[in-house]
Every structure is written in structure tokens, then in C-alpha cells.
Amino acid sequence: MQPTHPLKKHLAVSGGVILTLCIIFFILYGTLRDRFMNPGRYAVGALPSAEMQFFFISISIIIVIVLIGYIAYLLLTAKTRAELWVYRETEHLVYSRDQFQRLYDEAPVPYITLGENGEIREPNKATLRFFNAVPEDLIGKNLFTLEPEYEIPRANQLFEYYKRNIPINREEIRIITKKGTIKWVSLSVFTTKNAENSKKRTGIATLFDITEQKQLDQAKTEFVSLASHQLRSPSVTIKWGTTMLLSGDIGELTPKQNDYVHRIHTANEDMIDLVDTLLNVSRIEIGSLAIDRKPTNARELSEGIINELMPQIIQKNIRIDAQYNNYLENINSDPKLLRIIIQNLVSNAVKYTPDGGTVTITFSESERDKHVTVTDTGYGIPKEQQDKIFTKLFRADNVRKLTNSQGTGLGLYLTKSIAESLGGGISFISEENHGTSFTLTL
């Protein structure tokens, strides 16, 4: 309902007061005039003198001026101004509410107002389009029961969050439409107090349709996975073939032949590493990275990795300082995944440390966590690029310029993703031209 403008009210009151005062004035004036014009009707001495008349008229004028001043004052008084402010704000509020309602109704993103028990109260037009439904199909239904059967545990978990007032922020879940189509959505729900009853809650849910994005991601990941598998098979043939040649089982090679086969073998190993990295990246992105926890000896993993890297370590005359301190020799982790992390950190340290530098591997434990720290005396990461270091395909400018450095920009992205999948994390400190220290927390 539109509010009444406060000035109208005050003008009406003021008009009334002025009218009353005018009537009083004219009655008074009439009486005086009557006495003046008909002096015989009144006793001698009852007639007002000229001074008296002047006095009466002056008093009347003063009263009128005071009254007009008072009315003006009333109009400008704090109360009036406050009322004016309330009026203006109420008008803005009504305008904003109308605007919000219009936005809510016409927005391209599905918005749903939810009741305290997750029931749909007010779906906007985009919601109806999304579900291919009319309001009656949805109103009253619990939003958290519109998921396919295999999403029920997840939907129940989200409903539990909603009931406990925990914000639901961009959770990906599948929902069934009226036609039975399953769509992927990014669901966000926030709760507010109910306008009518402050003890009750109202939820506003947004469903962002990510079906197409999911399909694209799936297609991309399947392509990478398939391509990687197809690349792996011939790599295995090359690897086993070169192994046979190098072992001498099918005849001795000349030193030159041996050198060539060795180069093929090494290049093939690099390709297998790259394909494995791509496979792991696609697994992480599709969410199918399997974790197989078992008693793991991180020291053995680290020693194996150092052995593998020994040719480069010797070639670059790098000093390896391993401080295992008997920690992490029996931890519950996935040895294959942990190996990928340590391998990436140590090989990066060796790769990006100039000849004659030092790489230190330290194992440590705190009350709650276990740490693997790999520190080098290498090129370091430029300060302005440090926030991008875990981004996929990122390579720092200073190492990109190194002629002998090869890298995919996937290693640290993979390392961080795997560390997080294992329930841990990774952090670093770095100074350009002084070195970098990465710490894996498990």
C-alpha cells in the first residue's frame, strides 16, 4: 500500500487551525466594530478608546503572525522532517521491493524461496523453465527430494546443512526435472529470517544449470583419458623393446647402438611420465582419483626417487641433504600418490637449482601433522608470480627462459591436487635467485 504524504496531513491540520483562527478573529472584530458603531447600546465608558482599538487589532495581528509562524515551524519541525524521511524511505523500499520482485521473477537463473522444511514456496520463471513445470507442480515439494536416487545421501546431507543453518555454497548435484531429465546444478542456498515470523527461517536457493559444462568436462576428460591410454600402450612396447635391446638378450649392441637405444629409452620414459601426468590430471578433474591407503614408508619412496634422479644430480653436481629423522616411516597413506608428490617436489628442486647447489629433504612431525619439506638453493619463483604457481599449465618466467629446462606446468597443479585429495596441503616460501622451500603437510 502506498503511504500518505505527511505534508498533506500537516497542510490539512494547518488549514483547519488557520480557518478557526480567522473565524475567532472575525468574531472579535465584529464585536469591537459593533461596540464602535453602536455606542448607545453600551454603557458610557464601555466604548473602546482609539488606543484600545489599536491594542486589540495589534494583538489579533500578533496572534495571527504567531500562529502562522507556529504552523511554519510545525511544518519544518523534526517530527515532520522525520516523517518526510520515513515517507521517502518507504517509497524507496516499495520501489526496491518491486524492482527485486521483478528481478526475482525475470532473472535467467532459477531462484526458489524455500520454507523452513525445505518446501518450495515461490519458484521464479526460470525455475519453472528449468523444471519444465507449472508452479503447482513444485510448490510444497521439498527441494532436497528432487534428486535422483543415487544422489539421495548427498541431498540428505545438504538438507541437514539447510536445517542447521549452514550455508550451501555452489554444491554440485544432479536434479530430476518434471520430464525425468537429469540435470547437473550448482546449488547455493542461504537462509534469512522470515518476514512474518522472526523465529522462522526462509531460504533462497539458486540453481545454476551446469549440465552443459559437465558434459563438456566429461567429454574432455574422456578424450584425455582415452588418448592417454592409447599413447600408453605403444610406450610400453617401446619401453620393453629397448629394455630387451639394452639387456643384451637378443645380441650385444655396439657402444654407439647402445647409446642410441639408451636415448630412445630415456625419451620414452619421459613420454610415459607425461602421459601419466595427463592421466592423473584428468582423473582429478573427473573426480575419479582412487586413493588406496596402506602403511607407507615415505623414506623408502624418497630414497627411490633420489636414486632415479641420480644421473641429473651427478651431472649438475647437486648436493642432496636428506634429514629423515626416523619420521614418516610408517604412515597411513597412498604410496603411489605420495610418491607422485615427493617425486615432483624433488625433481623440480633438482631441475631448477643451478649446478653445485643443494637440495634438502626434511621429514618432520608436529602434534597433528606430518611434514615433508623440500628446500633448494635454486632460481626461486618471482614474487609477482607466486600466486599462480599451482595453476594448471603455469610456468614461471625465469625458468621458462632456461634453455635446458623442460616442464609441462602440470607438476605443481597435480601435486597440490593430490595433496588435497589425501587430506593434506602444500605451501611454499620462495625468493628469486635464493631458492624455494615447499612443505607438504599430511
Binding site: 591410454h229 600408453r232 600402450s233 610406450s235 610400453v236 612396447t237 619401453k239 620393453w240 623393446g241 629394455t243 630387451m244 639387456s247 638378450d249 637378443i250 610415459i272 601419466d276 582412487a290 588406496d292
Partner: protein, 127 residues
């Protein structure tokens, strides 16, 4: 005169001919006798006829895949106790569990294993 030990017969079932040849040569060099099959159907036929001591079995193959072949093999009186080693590039816990369920005693991942490692393990276990 010392008695000549009969070499163990290994049937390699894999559609990748190069891999079959290399693995075969390595096994021969390690004292085994080898047979080869390009798919599950041919492999099953040879296995049931020739009763090899060890069967090295790939999974993804034309005509009949490794799982089907293993299932059919286990239905045979001889085949139910034959030594089968899966040798594949399919690496997932489900695949390994599936292999164990179907009665394969070992599961080698081609991509993870070195050729020498595969042959040494076969030697240690079955020579």
C-alpha cells in the same frame, strides 16, 4: 648325465603383436617355452588344447576380452586351476578386484612394470 628340466609353457594372449614378441623373446631367454594368441577366443582354444603352465592374459582384446575368456576357462575342469596372470594397462582397484574375483592370481600393470620385473616374478613363482 643330468636330467634336462622341461621348460614351462607360457601362453601369451595379447592383441599387441610387438608386445607379444618382445615378452616371448624375453621369456625364451629366461628358459620358458612360449605360445601366442591374438584374442580371447584363440587364447581359450589354445589353453584348453595345449594346457600351458602359465597364461599371461590381456583384458582389452577383440572377439573375446580377457574377463570373458577367464570366466569360460574357469568353467573347464583343467582350466579352473590354471595359473592365470593378468597383464594389462587397465589400472583401477575395481579391475584388480575383478581379476581376483575371477580367479587370476596375479595382476601386472604393463605401464608400471619393467619387462625384467614381470619375467623375474614369473620365474620366481613358476620355474
Amino acid at each position: 648325465m643330468t636330467e634336462q628340466k622341461t621348460p614351462k609353457k607360457v601362453l601369451i594372449i595379447d592383441d599387441n603383436e610387438s608386445l607379444r614378441t618382445i615378452l616371448g623373446d624375453k621369456l625364451i631367454a629366461s628358459g620358458f617355452e612360449t605360445l601366442g594368441a591374438t584374442d580371447g577366443e584363440d587364447g581359450l582354444k589354445q589353453a584348453l588344447e595345449l594346457h600351458p603352465d602359465i597364461i599371461l592374459l590381456d583384458v582389452l582384446m577383440p572377439k573375446m576380452n580377457g574377463w570373458e575368456m577367464l570366466e569360460k576357462l574357469r568353467q573347464d575342469a583343467w582350466g579352473k586351476s590354471a595359473n592365470v596372470i593378468m597383464l594389462t594397462s587397465l589400472e583401477s582397484t575395481e579391475n584388480i578386484a575383478h581379476a581376483m574375483e575371477k580367479g587370476s592370481y596375479q595382476y601386472f600393470l604393463k605401464t608400471d612394470c619393467d619387462l625384467n620385473e614381470v619375467v623375474n616374478q614369473i620365474k620366481t613363482k613358476y620355474s
